[in-house]
Subunit: 504 residues, 2 copies
């Protein structure tokens, strides 16, 4: 069956020269990936570092084609897509640095020694690639969480070929991305199948069930994660699933913060929840704002900004419909409409931003649930003592934010941060959760339903998901990977329990 | 319902003063564990280090009671149990060292900086405890993989209270173990519920479904792992499962090894597969031995040792019955009986060791399957070139071993090691997989069906299973954990991408 692509700006479907992948196509992709594993391993750590840089360069060299394709398929703005493509390249280059550093291998050497349990043999351990990885790309990040995204970058860095199930919202962008990555691989003499794409839901199911696939990474909904987990449970050999799902990302504005900078926070909140049509997993969906004059000023400013905002093009019809339903459902559940401009929707998937408001005692699980798109619910509270109970209604999230002011009670802040820490993966102070920095210390994850795992999908340590430990006991030096030989000092290693930093 | 305990040496059930845990008992345990989390966190890294040492001392101070209880419930020998209790104490003390070192926190600091994506905020990350952990203890290690085992030690080290579902094979040992651990906790002013036990299968199911439980660790069968996974899938918030299951642990004896030390290898193999009644997850279940005169000599020596061996008491009736069935099934599948002494089984669960033999072309998946107990299948091969195909029939395992000789073709060794590496978690050279060293570099895990995960259940890094990353963005210094403050140098940290070793 042919794959069509839809321009969300006009809602019209266009034919492509792509076809849905049949079972033999999935077999081919998985089989090629399996055979390509050895090439990635043989490249070695530094060879793969070089490859990642070449991929970043190749992606950037096709910036024009990639951004144009993504604009026509997602309706996201050129500046946003331009930045996102840079983000994708930055991610590949960060893993280049991770590979050069080598600490990610967690290399450890315990020399033979007498122990309380008798003579202990020489044991050396490091992480090795899992093998081919299936990646399910996201709708909302055609580059940075899709074919050219962090899952692919970290999997290739780890030494794992990647088969991506292209998101139906951007099949052409996916194809051009894969071609850009593949051409960098070919230029280094690599085989086919280090990166490949399959199209179609059924192809995704075949992929997850394929024996060659050793891990599955998803950016998608909790429902999709549960479906993938049950497909994995049916395998003869279940494999790990790393799912990055939804998130409400509550923001607390403390009274002193509202008093000291109501307008500034209104600007920041508006930008954060409407950026990219509010279609970010870190979008703040709930803002706790005090029921006092400063809070009123903040909400008024926010209302004005929303009321005068233009329409936002959503990614696809399903997301647009879910957004419209969400706006209705939230009002039925008791949130009042605070602002929603009239816009000319036209033929595409354009919607108006929506600001809703509820008093904290009226906050329910239904109101606190994620609604993808440019919507935020303002929750008004009378006393910071109410916030604990309010936060307990909010589902655990990728992030939790707190805006503080000059005269805050520090014990109140500490208690709130403890509550946020228990229910999120990143705590943001006096800022906004969107605009995730790509860096060593970054974490993108959190308790269910934001992610399913104890890992991260952004930042240097996301490579850990596609590696497993392997130990060598009593091995002759010649057979050990060079990183585990005595005298090798280029990378950080733990030798007889003591950490030795690398010299490179 | 009362819990009974059975002495496998005479097969007789005895009453205990323990009862199966009802649903409200499970609620109590999980609720207490949840409330105890803060105490473990407040203890801090060094406080928990002190606690782990105190637990080790407490276990050792009850050595007499513990070993006597375990002997009566498992039929394992006193010297073995004595060593195992030492192993359990060593594990707690290893995590004491892990906590003092602090590298396990994976602390990372990225200061605010200009980046290719614009100004990057200050981001700091480290690992934090997941919360209460459910541990399903093993039948075959009443100390080191049960209540006082590595899962408990690593969970408490991480800061996670632990609720253990006691194995029905040793309820009294479990109780005494928990009391020893609890008394060390109480002596430090800790609350109830940092460690607790529940009894009974249904209690285990309630436990896995309880909202307070944040991770599940199992040492058991693949069937048990699948059942736990499906219980986890049904939770409103699925949690990670870490399952350590079965393993065949193939051993390859190369022709030069057999030629140079047939008798020595026969001694080693015999000890390794009969030790503790062959009831070790690292027991070598298959040995590939050359079909040549040296191989014949090795097999003859092995046969003699088995033929003159005494009976072994197995842990319980189910394991005894499965062993008897396994011996029959393997013969029906085409393995010939090479040796099995007549023994006086008496009233208990005593069995004879069994040596079976098959030519490599006759090796099937059925013959290569794990049979718990003192049984090994010798697989005779004519040419090392046959070994790749032979190993592909063997299920992936915790370990794979190779015995080499002075004149080996190094390329043959390298190829075999590559095959073993793809299908196991630890490669043992010229040694035996049993007797797992407890150390920083150790790894106990491997591809399904040996474990389900990319983690280890033995060694310093097993603590990683019970931790999750948490990031602080733009945080004021006073609210950061001390390990993430500028100027703190006691532990290894990655600062702006550069690893700084700790000064402690």
């Amino acid at each position: 069956m042919n794959v069509t692509t839809i321009d969300p700006r006009d809602g019209r479907a266009r034919a492509t020269d792509l076809t849905e992948t049949d079972q033999s196509g999935v077999e081919t992709a998985a089989g090629q990936a399996s055979r390509a594993t050895q090439w990635l391993i043989d490249l070695g750590r530094l060879g793969r570092a070089h490859l990642l840089d070449a991929i970043a360069t190749s992606l950037e060299s096709r910036r024009g084609d990639l951004v144009a394709a993504a604009e026509a398929e997602t309706g996201l703005s050129r500046p946003r897509l331009d930045t996102e493509l840079t983000r994708a390249a930055v991610q590949f280059r960060m893993f280049e640095a991770v590979l050069r550093d080598g600490g990610y291998l967690e290399a450890a050497i315990d020399h033979a020694a007498d122990t309380p349990l008798g003579p202990g043999p020489d044991v050396r351990r490091m992480l090795v690639p899992l093998g081919p990885v299936a990646v399910f790309g996201a709708s909302n990040f055609p580059f940075a969480f899709s074919v050219a995204g962090g899952d692919t970058a970290s999997a290739l860095a780890a030494g794992c070929p990647t088969v991506v199930k292209a998101h139906p919202s951007h099949p052409v962008t996916s194809r051009v991305s894969a071609d850009a990555i593949d051409s960098a691989i070919r230029a280094m003499g690599g085989p086919g199948g280090v990166i490949s794409i399959v199209y179609g839901e059924q192809a995704g199911r075949w992929l997850v069930g394929h024996p060659a696939i050793r891990a599955v990474a998803l950016t998608g909904s909790a429902g999709a994660a549960r479906a993938l987990q049950s497909a994995i449970d049916e395998r003869a050999d279940p494999v790990p699933l790393y799912a990055e799902m939804g998130s409400v990302n509550p923001i607390i504005v403390l009274p002193e913060a509202a008093a000291s900078r109501a307008d500034q926070i209104a600007d920041g909140l508006f930008a954060s929840f409407t950026n990219s049509g509010g279609q970010l997993c870190t979008k703040p969906g709930l803002a706790f704002i005090p029921s006092d004059p400063a809070g009123d000023r903040l909400v008024d400013a926010l209302r004005d900004k929303v009321a005068t905002s233009g329409g936002a093009v959503l990614l696809n019809e399903r997301i647009r419909d879910a957004y419209d339903r969400g706006v209705d459902n939230l009002q039925r559940a008791g949130a009042r409409l605070a602002a929603r401009p009239r816009i000319d929707a036209g033929a595409g998937f354009t919607v108006a931003a929506t600001l809703l408001e509820v008093e904290l005692p009226g906050l329910t699980g239904e109101i606190a649930d994620e609604c993808f798109g440019p919507l935020m619910v303002v929750v008004r509270y009378r006393d910071v003592a109410e916030l604990d109970a309010g936060l307990s209604i909010v589902p655990p999230s990728l992030t939790g934010s707190v805006h503080r002011g000059p005269g805050d009670d520090l014990e109140v802040v500490r208690r709130l941060v403890d509550v946020l820490a228990a229910r999120s993966g990143r705590i943001v102070f006096d800022g906004y959760p969107t605009g995730v920095r790509v860096s060593w210390a970054q974490h993108h994850g959190g308790p269910w339903p934001s992610t399913n795992a104890v890992h991260t999908s952004v930042g240097a340590t996301s490579i850990r998901r596609f590696l497993r430990p392997l130990a060598w006991q009593g091995a002759p030096e010649w057979i050990l990977p060079e990183e585990l030989r005595d005298g090798y000092t280029a990378i950080p290693r733990r030798v007889d329990g003591r950490l030795e930093p690398g010299t490179e």
